[in-house]
């Protein structure tokens, strides 16, 4: 992100040190991850030690320091989804995509992540792709669900979902 754009974010938060988490969230909403040079820029502009920024960036689950695929696949591993077999869904996704959690496919299309509950527990197991929820997913439904995203344009995954679109796989 350009220095101007970063300054815009910093200004939104009044250059407050206490708002650093919000700043990083906004940065990641734009960039899909936290680029090193942007973090250095923020550190300079706020006169905040880079170490402190990295402490936060590596503490919170939300943040990624490496680029992520165009589509983020989030498998819910919350308790409700777990007892309904989320681990099997995850195994199947790993196998199908050929990547582990936290990795990106070679074609840069997908990144695989896990999340602890997205608050749709009644419909578990849940897989969130980009900003669409897929409920009651089984290992058998994994392939057909992912395939639909092979053609989708980039933008749905990168922008922060203001208002999530949701749907169910049957």
């Amino acid at each position: 992100m350009g220095p101007k754009a970063i300054d815009r974010i910093l200004k939104k938060y009044d250059y407050e040190h206490s708002s650093i988490i919000g700043v990083l969230q906004d940065l990641q909403d734009e960039e899909n991850y936290l680029p090193e040079k942007d973090l250095e820029h923020i550190s300079e502009r706020l006169s905040m030690p880079l170490a402190r920024i990295y402490r936060i960036a590596t503490f919170y689950n939300t943040f990624s320091l490496t680029p992520r695929g165009k589509q983020l696949i989030n498998v819910c591993l919350g308790t409700a989804c777990h007892v309904r077999g989320a681990a099997r869904v995850l195994d199947r996704l790993k196998m199908y995509l050929g990547i582990d959690v936290g990795e990106m496919t070679k074609d840069r299309l997908f990144s695989l992540q896990t999340v602890n509950c997205v608050g749709a527990c009644a419909l578990g197991p849940i897989v969130v792709i980009g900003n669409e929820y897929h409920g009651q997913i089984t290992p058998g439904k994994v392939e057909s669900t992912i395939k639909k995203y092979r053609k989708k344009p980039r933008k749905s995954a990168t922008k922060s979902p203001r208002h999530k679109k949701l749907k169910i796989e049957n």
Partner: protein, 237 residues
């Protein structure tokens, strides 16, 4: 003055002090790994357990971050403190089986081979290096990274922290001695952080005495000291 008892003996402390400090000052032996009197108590190693009775209730707690309070009674050596300390030592030994200070503690507390899978780490995550760098040196070169069982300590980008002045405070304070400093005529390296800085030679005696970058930093943070003060080594100033 705040009066309370440790193992039945009356002791005195001041507001703002912690129980461990007062105990150590009075010659009581409480094992501790993450506490240093020059730094804010952190309470990470969980070794300095004592039992504190306050208002009729007794509980196990760490003494390094327990404030001294009027009338409390502290027990430093009970069945519970020993039970807790032994397990803490066993956990640390499983993490860092080769570290002398841990091995000594294990011997002192009769902790045998750990019953867990043994790792080969050398850092106990006490955070002393990180705190001394931030609280005393003031350059925030290193920090904790990650969380949970993946937590580690190091520079933001894993190596070569740009603000590190290679002062060696972390080297000095690390209880496990896992941060090494190497020095040649021309360079000083903090090995663990992969930070190497060129050395400055003393204008008077010609001996290399400190990294250039460190002296510049001292120059910046001090007022009213002539710039050429930093050109000579401590002996020649």
């Amino acid at each position: 003055m705040i009066t309370f008892t440790i193992d039945g003996f009356e002791v005195e402390g001041e507001k703002g002090q912690n129980v461990l400090q007062v105990a150590l000052d009075n010659g009581f032996d409480i094992p501790h790994l993450c506490y240093h009197e020059a730094l804010k108590p952190y309470g990470a190693c969980r070794l300095c357990q004592v039992e504190v009775t306050k208002g009729g209730r007794t509980r196990l707690t760490t003494s390094c971050n327990y404030p001294v309070l009027e009338g409390i009674s502290v027990q430093t050596n009970t069945e519970k403190t020993t039970r807790a300390r032994k397990m803490v030592i066993e956990l640390l030994l499983a993490r860092c089986p080769g570290v002398p200070i841990i091995k000594d503690l294990a011997k002192e507390y009769s902790v045998g081979e750990p019953r867990f899978k043994v790792d080969n780490d050398d850092c106990i995550l006490c955070g002393l290096c990180e705190r001394v760098c931030r609280e005393v040196v003031g350059v925030d070169a290193i920090t904790f990274l990650g969380r949970g069982s993946d937590r580690k300590v190091g520079p933001p980008l894993e190596i070569n922290p740009k603000t590190c002045i290679a002062c060696g405070a972390c080297v000095y304070i690390c209880p496990t001695n896992c941060i090494k400093l190497e020095e040649t005529e021309s360079e000083r390296t903090i090995v663990r952080w992969e930070r190497t800085l060129p050395m400055k030679k003393c204008k008077a005696c010609g001996r290399s005495f400190a990294p250039w970058f460190q002296l510049e930093y001292f120059g910046k943070i001090t007022d009213g000291i002539p710039a050429d003060f930093w050109d000579k080594c401590v002996d020649c100033r």
